[in-house]
């Protein structure tokens, strides 16, 4: 096992990793930018090094400086957390070339899954459904119509060079396809000097369901069940929960199996997440693999009783998985709420500043993962998440009642937060009955 680990991250996930290491008897080396100097969690590390100015590009994204800290700190491994360099294959390569283990998957797997085309290829090999489409450009209208007939309407016309919705069209039938194809192509030509377009099945109001997997270096791969993350805003997850409500048992089983076979095919190791979209008829389609620990990992820790950060470290240290698929229970219901320093009344603009009063919820089944405290100043340089409130109860109904109770107790003054939005979400009948999809939050609040 490692004696010292460097944590190439900040905030709540840095604290989370420090806590896991301390319980494992591993010393920690923290790095920080000038903006994070003096934060309490840095005192909890055995060593902390300033690596640069506040801007992440000059500090938390500076591979050279982090490696210097790792060498000075004399660590055997680096935990990247999430965000920043967590999915940067080059960083993983540099770490390992310095004989410092990168706590994450192999570089090859990161690269293969990082590229959309090769990831689709792997999924197909693994027999995992992807969103059906034209697998490449459509040369003429007749071909497009033929493909659309195969995959079924509605279809999405996408510019291959596309972005920001430009050159994108939804076609509900052949007429609008014929019309849309020309229009999209022209628009793409105009916008990107590239008229190439392709077709993809259009999934209406999908749910976001993801599967947590974990794999050791000896070919053992297990899933730790699924999470539903349909409650999101502008592709930012707000609420994550497990089990995924109203997901039929057989669909649940198949989606978890698909995740396992996909990462096996990719020779993936350590912790990862396979993201899927699920349509209203419970057809699911692979979207991408997040090759890192995720913000919402506590949800899975609570329903399975497995400490994912500790597992990541043990796997990176060469230990085999201590359990098989059959050993992994799923009990109760866990729901995570992300608390962000944003002003819901002003377009969710970030609200940095000093927390002047803080009253935290607590009691049975309540976990609040956060690095903040009364008097802490949220800097404007990094993302706005200040903590994760996670509740764990026998049933979803009880979990929701517990979350409401927590939101009633929760007091944060000095900055604007998303708590008022949270109170509305957890009392909205459609969330309680779980009649939601990834467009629900934006449609409703």
């Amino acid at each position: 096992m490692f004696q010292r680990i460097l944590i190439a991250n900040r905030g709540e996930i840095a604290l989370r990793i420090i806590r896991a290491c301390r319980e494992l008897g591993i010393e920690t080396v923290a790095v920080y930018s000038e903006a994070d100097r003096g934060a309490h969690y840095l005192d909890l590390a055995d060593e902390a090094w300033c690596i640069g100015p506040p801007q992440a590009l000059e500090s938390y994204l500076q591979i050279k400086r982090i490696i210097s800290a790792a060498e000075i700190g004399n660590v055997q491994a680096v935990h990247p957390g999430y965000g920043f360099l967590a999915e940067n294959a080059h960083f993983a390569e540099v770490c390992r070339s310095c004989n410092i283990e990168f706590i994450g998957p192999p570089v090859e797997a990161m690269q293969a899954l990082g590229d959309k085309v090769s990831a689709r290829e792997i999924a197909r090999k693994a027999g995992v459904p992807c969103v059906p489409g034209s697998d490449g450009l459509v040369s003429d209208v007749e071909e497009a119509v033929r493909i659309a007939d195969q995959i079924g309407y509605p279809v999405l016309i996408k510019a291959t060079a596309g972005g920001g919705g430009k050159g994108m069209r939804v076609a509900g039938n052949e007429i609008s396809l014929r019309a849309g194809l020309a229009a999209a192509s022209a628009e793409a030509e105009k916008a990107f000097k590239n008229a190439g377009v392709y077709l993809e099945k259009y999934i209406e109001r999908p749910r976001h369901v993801e599967v947590q997997i974990i794999a050791d270096n000896y070919g053992n791969v297990v899933h730790l069940w699924e999470r539903d993350c349909s409650m999101q805003r502008r592709h930012q997850k707000l609420i994550e929960e497990s089990p995924a409500p109203k997901l039929p048992a057989d669909v649940r089983r198949r989606i978890c199996e698909c995740a396992v076979s996909l990462v096996k095919t990719a020779n993936y190791t350590n912790a990862g997440t396979c993201e899927f979209i699920v349509d209203k008829d419970f057809n699911f389609y692979f979207i991408e693999v997040n090759a890192r620990i995720q913000v919402e990992h506590p949800v899975t820790e609570l329903v399975t009783g497995i400490d994912l950060i500790k597992q990541q470290i043990r796997i990176a240290a060469g230990e085999p998985l201590p359990f098989t698929q059959a050993d992994i229970p799923h009990t109760g219901c866990a729901i995570e709420l992300r608390v962000n320093a944003e002003d819901p009344d002003n377009g969710f603009r970030g609200s940095p500043g000093t927390i002047t009063k803080l009253r935290l919820p607590g009691g049975p089944g309540v976990r609040f993962d956060s690095h903040v405290y009364e008097g802490y100043t949220i800097s404007p340089y990094y993302d706005s998440m200040i903590g994760k409130l996670i509740v764990y109860k026998p049933t979803r109904q009880e979990a929701i009642e517990c979350m409401r109770r927590c939101l009633h107790e929760f007091v944060i003054e000095g900055i604007k937060t998303t708590l008022p939005l949270a109170r509305r979400m957890f009392t909205h009948a459609d969330f309680v009955d779980f009649n939601v999809d990834t467009t629900f939050v934006e449609r409703t609040f």
């Binding site: 494992l24 008897g25 590390a45 902390a48 090094w49 300033c50 500090s59 400086r65 210097s68």
Partner: protein, 172 residues
């Protein structure tokens, strides 16, 4: 996972952390000797200048892994986290030359050479004042400022963090 023996190690590690904090404070305020009694035990600590062996290809000796019991010998690894703001605060009025990168500070081009600069030396922006070694690369550091060196704030072989004051200057 752990056996009672490790357990006892963990036991010590409580003290070990207090010890680190104490050393940080000592570094902060340039304390060289401490004898104190807290509710748990009594400690005596002395910090003195250390000999540094150059080992560009390997890690300098005192950066070797630190077994809990050997910590007293390794104040240099205690966290600049706390040390730096203090250093800044403690730094008396006047300009300082700060580390432009995290790395290992060397005062002279090689063990046999004299230091680049000594107290009293007058430096110009392009004067070489030290080397900071990072990832086996020896970066020659220029003063970037003009003045007379009145104090050298780190020791040869010290690890220094980004922005850590290295030299204190006064107008020449």
């Amino acid at each position: 996972m752990a056996k009672p023996v490790e357990t006892d190690d963990k036991g010590d590690s409580f003290d070990l952390d207090k010890f680190r904090k104490l050393l940080q404070l000592m570094e902060k305020f340039g304390v060289t000797e401490v004898a104190l009694q807290n509710e748990e035990e009594s400690w005596k600590i002395r910090r003195g200048p250390r000999q540094v062996a150059y080992a560009p290809a390997a890690y300098p000796a005192e950066f070797a892994p630190v077994p809990a019991t050997a910590v007293p010998a390794a104040p240099s690894v205690t966290a600049p986290a706390a040390a730096q703001p203090a250093a800044a605060a403690a730094a008396p009025a006047g300009i300082t030359i700060n580390a432009p990168a995290i790395g290992t500070f060397y005062a002279s081009p090689s063990p046999d050479d004299p230091p680049f600069v000594t107290v009293g030396a007058v430096v110009k922006p392009d004067t070489l004042v030290c080397i900071i070694e990072a990832m086996k690369v020896f970066n020659q550091i220029q003063a970037e400022k003009s003045g007379r060196i009145v104090e050298i704030l780190v020791e040869n072989g010290d690890a220094v963090g980004f922005g850590q004051p290295l030299f204190r200057l006064e107008p020449a």
